[in-house]
């Protein structure tokens, strides 16, 4: 049973959903750029509330993932659909060829989608011209989602894994969330998920699921 904090977050999220519906309706009547921005903000806050709820539950020890089989190509199509239209003019190059080979993988699609959307939005924010989004089979078992941009890269403190430094950056909450969701993905044989951050001509984010 969720506590009052969780209930309050739920309520706020439901209110945001309602706001989103109204904004969508307003946009049908009037194509103002301000409405578009407003809907984007509402969407981002809603995603942050989901992350907040997850972090809260993890703190309470009540975070349990809903791991189940997912067709990877369908899942990636859903992620891309949710991202569109891209908030900037930067193009996203994708390579999902591995999705058809691997077929199905078991993971919490709801939470992982938030991790990837957050990584993609971050990359779009910092990229100068391009973002790469790929899926690959991980050698030794597992799958690897990668998001790379050609921007200035992660600050050194973030690469060093300094969580307090991470918390001060705009992407801090997102990375903490990503680390948490990755770590909660586990197999009965004891393998866990993880994230990898690197700078290589820009920021490279990878989510590896067991």
């Amino acid at each position: 049973m969720d506590s009052l904090v969780a209930v309050a977050i739920h309520d706020a999220k439901n209110a945001l959903n309602a706001l989103n519906v109204w904004l969508a309706e307003a946009r049908r009547d009037c194509q103002a750029p301000a409405l578009e921005r407003a809907q984007e903000v509402a969407g981002n806050v809603s995603a942050q509330l989901v992350q907040l709820l997850t972090l809260y539950r993890a703190g309470e020890g009540s975070l349990r993932l809903a791991v189940e089989d997912r067709q990877l190509d369908d899942f990636l199509a859903d992620v891309m659909a949710e991202l569109a239209p891209p908030p900037t003019a930067i193009a996203i190059a994708t390579d999902f060829a591995a999705a058809a080979d691997i077929g199905v993988w078991a993971f919490d699609a709801y939470q992982v989608k938030f991790v990837l959307l957050d990584a993609l939005r971050n990359a779009l924010r910092h990229a100068s011209s391009r973002v790469h989004f790929t899926l690959a089979a991980e050698s030794g078992g597992g799958i690897r989602f990668s998001v790379a941009d050609d921007g200035p890269g992660f600050p050194d403190t973030v690469l060093g894994g300094d969580t307090s430094a991470m918390a001060k950056t705009s992407s801090g909450l997102g990375l903490t969330f990503a680390r948490l969701i990755a770590a909660h993905h586990a197999t009965p044989s004891g393998r866990h998920g993880r994230i990898e951050l690197a700078n290589d001509g820009g920021a490279r984010f990878a989510l590896i699921l067991p």
Binding site: M1, V67, D69, A106, S189
Partner: protein, 534 residues
């Protein structure tokens, strides 16, 4: 996927939601869509026609939810396997849907969603239903397991994107057919390539079916560490523990209840807590079971019986009698209900020291039993009342009869054993139940040996006598049919014997449509009955 030719049923209790989603459905291309406002309307609609797709909101009002509805219509076979089921949930209930153990929806959709998302999701699940159609056809046919298995292999050979879904169904088929070694190999094969909760639980079930309870238990505990939300793992673990350690089983179900509250699990906790003499917990669990569901579709006689007995054990006689009386306003007035009420009432009075009132109620229950055939749960309730009322011999006779009629049903045997234990006759009960099971197995084996030795007439006489007496025993009815069919095979067509074989197969189907041997003998019957065979 062209949705224009597809038919849908939308189930939602909130009028605004119904109209919003209908507009979205029409936008997505699904124009032929009926609506239902509650479970009753939905069941009526499902009984009247076949739909391609059901869209059901998780919250259905009256203390009921879409998951309960899905379980109900699947169990009652109101929902064809070819019909897709899409659950619509809010963020707060998606976990409960996504972790549903045995009866999972084909997909679920989180609110809010766009028409485009709706169209994509509907298209995907309808594509899958279409691809697996040959398999579903055999699965829904009585006696179709062998053909379903062959269809699995054909579909697997075709290397579709649904291979893992097909392997999952194949594993369940092999388990149902008691081909556990093959099932185990299948699950291990899947797990070599990827970790996935269903194959972990499948492997544990196969290990348990092979008699390796210890390995199965260990495997399930490890699976739960990795997948703490996977309800099927809790259910399987509780089932294993129930045989040896009921307090531990109760704890496992309590953990599952924290993941996803459900009527089924409240009821399970109630039963376990009662047997563990944790009467306060039993009362609470049964009370929640009967109070939560205001639609009345998910309650059972046993919920009220459990509640009344939990009250009685705590000296709350007035509440206990009220619970018994309450049954009349929640269920159809059948002989089963009258007998159950009388049997429970008798136990409540006996516990309260009202011997005369207890005797009157017990006589009433026994009188109903003389007139009509009762289900095992009601019969065992009457047996329990007899024990409490001091009529041990009558109680033992009733239990022996039920055990003979259901000698393969572990849950009936577990209930019977619990009743003996409560009467202070644990060892005697265990001996009687073991002896009954052995006797029935021997009867079947003897008859089969006779048949194999060529004494078919003698085998037929023996099995028919038993099958006519024990009409809920699927194994005996199947063997009776088998002996008759073997006679036809050896001696040529005999229309009377063929009709009798058909009669016993029907009887077996009624008793246990999922019996592992049923398919094989049904197939044998069809071979002999087809015009080509003559």
């Amino acid at each position: 996927m062209d949705l224009r030719e597809k038919s849908g049923l939308l189930i939602d209790d909130i009028p605004e939601m119904r109209s919003t989603i209908r507009i979205q459905l029409a936008d997505a291309g699904l124009e032929k869509c009926d609506v239902a406002r509650n479970i009753k309307e939905a069941i009526d609609k499902l009984a009247a026609r076949r739909y391609d797709l059901i869209l059901c909101d998780y919250n259905l009002g009256q203390g009921t939810d879409g998951q309960q509805f899905l379980e109900l219509v699947r169990r009652k076979k109101l929902l064809p396997l070819t019909t897709a089921f899409l659950m619509i949930t809010g963020e707060s209930s998606y976990e409960q849907v996504s972790t549903a153990a045995e009866y999972a929806p084909d997909d679920y959709l989180l609110k809010p969603f766009t028409s485009e998302t709706l169209r994509t999701r509907m298209g995907r699940i309808l594509d899958k239903k279409e691809a697996l159609k040959p398999l579903y056809r055999h699965l829904s046919q009585p006696g179709g397991r062998h053909q379903a298995l062959a269809a699995c292999d054909d579909l697997l050979a075709a290397r579709t994107r649904y291979s893992l879904d097909i392997l999952r169904i194949k594993g369940e088929l092999l388990m149902a057919m008691k081909r556990t070694d093959e099932a185990l190999a299948l699950y291990e094969g899947v797990l070599e390539l990827r970790a996935t909760p269903w194959a972990e639980v499948g492997k544990a079930r196969a290990l348990a079916a092979d008699g390796d309870d210890e390995a199965a238990r260990h495997h399930l505990e490890r699976a739960l560490e990795a997948y703490p939300n996977y309800l099927a793992a809790y259910d399987s673990l509780a089932q294993l523990l129930e045989k040896t350690d009921r307090p531990a089983a109760q704890q496992v179900v309590e953990r599952a209840l924290k993941v996803a509250p459900s009527t089924q699990r409240q009821r399970h906790i109630g039963g376990l807590a009662f047997d563990n003499k944790d009467f306060g917990r039993a009362e609470e669990a049964f009370r929640r079971t009967v109070e939560k569901d205001r639609s009345g579709f998910f309650k059972e006689h046993g919920d009220y019986a459990g509640l009344a007995k939990s009250y009685a054990e705590q000296g709350k006689t007035r509440e206990a009698l009220a619970a018994v009386k309450n049954m009349s306003s929640h269920f159809q007035h059948t002989p089963e209900l009258a007998a159950r009420q009388a049997a429970v009432e008798s136990q409540v009075h006996a516990k309260a020291g009202n011997a005369e009132a207890a005797r009157i109620a017990m006589d009433k229950a026994l009188a109903v039993m003389k007139e009509v055939e009762l289900d095992p749960a009601t019969s065992l309730e009457i047996a329990q009342a007899c024990f409490v009322g001091g009529r041990s011999e009558a109680a033992t006779d009733i239990i022996r009869g039920v055990a003979e009629d259901h000698h393969e049903d572990d849950s009936v045997f577990a209930r019977a054993q619990a009743i003996f234990a409560e009467a202070g006759l644990n060892d005697e009960g265990s001996a009687l139940l073991d002896e009954t099971r052995r006797r029935l197995i021997k009867l079947n084996n003897d008859a089969v040996s006779l048949a194999k030795a060529g004494a078919l007439d003698q085998a037929i006489v023996m099995l028919r006598e038993a099958a006519d007496r024990l009409r809920h025993n699927a194994q005996i009815a199947i063997n009776a049919a088998l002996a008759l069919l073997m006679h036809i095979q050896e001696n040529g067509m005999d229309v009377a014997k063929l009709a009798l074989a058909r009669h016993y197969l029907r009887q077996a189907e009624e008793a246990d449509p999922n019996h592992a041997k049923l398919d094989e003998v049904e197939a044998f019957y069809r071979r002999l009955a087809s015009p080509d065979s003559q």
